[in-house]
Amino acid sequence: MLNYEGGGSLLLRLQGGKFAEDGSRAARPCCAMERDIMSEIIKTDVVIVGAGPTGLFAVFELGLLDIKAHLIDILPKPGGQCAELYPEKPIYDIPGFPMVTGQGLVDNLLQQIEPFAPTFHYNEMVEGLDVLGTPEAPAFRVRTDGGKVFEAKVVIVAAGGGSFQPKRPPVATIEAYEHKSVFYAVRKMEDFRDRTVLIVGGGDSALDWTLNLHPIAKRVILMHRRDDFRAAPHSVNAMRELVASKQMDLLIGQIAGLKGEDGQLSAVSVKTADGVSDIACDRLLPFFGLTMKLGPIADWGLNLHEQLVPVDTEKFETNAPGIFAIGDINTYPGKLKLILSGFHEAALAAQKAHRYIYPEKKLHFQYTTSSTNLQKKLGVA
């Protein structure tokens, strides 16, 4: 079990090997302050969307060509699916590694790109993209949901299966309540003060927020589909003590429907062993894990084919000059969704990116084994 408590998220725990906890990426108590500070524009050569293995290796290939990169990822840590879906699973088809775990590969990549000092922006989803330049001299403005603004000559989309987003419970009308009385993360604890809060789920996010909101909420009700919790045993014990002393309620059941008006919840219908009944509450926090969605990239004006971005196989550039797509998110004849394909694509995309970023410079192909110039950049010469 890997506990992750960094990145400004106080209550985030990710379980090793699991499609883990529960949309907690937005649990950022400092977010309002961050937003004010970050309204100035970050200028860089390349913005890489996605810090999975392909995005990380792109930093290396760009770095050898003196190109600086900023990486943006919706997760609170690097590694993408390798770190989020299968950190402990062995991978057998990385060239030169007979076996490496998902997290092992990510750790090695981070070490490999360290000389190029990339800047990481975690817990951020790229929302908007504006074209500033021309096809010959592209430039883009990239905006995130956290309010950060970047200006770059090249954008490399290495977004894998898309962005990890919270899963919705199976209730048709839920969208009308979202961000008003139904939340998939706690951004501001004050939103829950003196409220009757129904928290649904059995993992660390559900249990942590049960324990943390209990002191300020009017009443906290935790509901899970079975009387068995994945969360850390000490949180489960603490919850059971609160239930035993009648300071909160525990229900074994599932959401059957929502009641309320104008997005303001008044009750949740729940299905338990005793049948369907209404639980009066004015806040609902479902924690059902994360799923991958293409997200706002779909609105960037890129050609799409079945949720994938078509690219050429010479430069891995999209239909928009200056925007590249590498790794699992792209498609071309013969495409294989392998990490090694993403590495190859990163190397070729970097060559073309160099032409946009240094139009006046001629690029001489060099090997890291023999080039003192490259070795200097890697800090080994």
Partner: protein, 106 residues
């Protein structure tokens, strides 16, 4: 070969031949069965190969293991006959198995 039938949310039924030793999820992907996504590729890490097992087969398949139950917490519209198809091994004894795919996978 073992026959497995998938019924989608609209009621359409598709029967496929599955290789013994593989999983029901793999049989679905190989035969392009709609409604099975299997984002994680069978690592029991995503709950997007969720199926409802036909009542007649629930007992024969046995209970889900702890890891699968934990993952089912993340599935869409979980019911008592919910399973993750990547955790159901294809074998001669399950010849004729029928499963339904949910309206959506998460």
């Amino acid at each position: 070969m073992t026959k497995i039938t998938f019924i989608d949310a609209s009621g359409q039924s598709r029967t496929v031949d599955a290789e013994d030793g593989s999983t029901v999820m793999e049989a679905a992907l190989k035969n392009s069965i709609p409604g099975i996504e299997a984002e994680c590729g069978g690592a029991c890490a995503c709950a997007t190969c969720h199926v409802y097992v036909d009542d007649a087969w629930v007992e024969k398949l046995g209970k889900a293991e702890q890891m699968e139950e934990d993952m089912l917490d993340f599935a869409f519209d979980v019911r008592p006959n919910s399973r993750l198809s990547c955790q159901i091994k294809v074998r001669a004894e399950i010849d004729g198995l029928t499963v339904s795919t949910p309206e959506k996978q998460g």
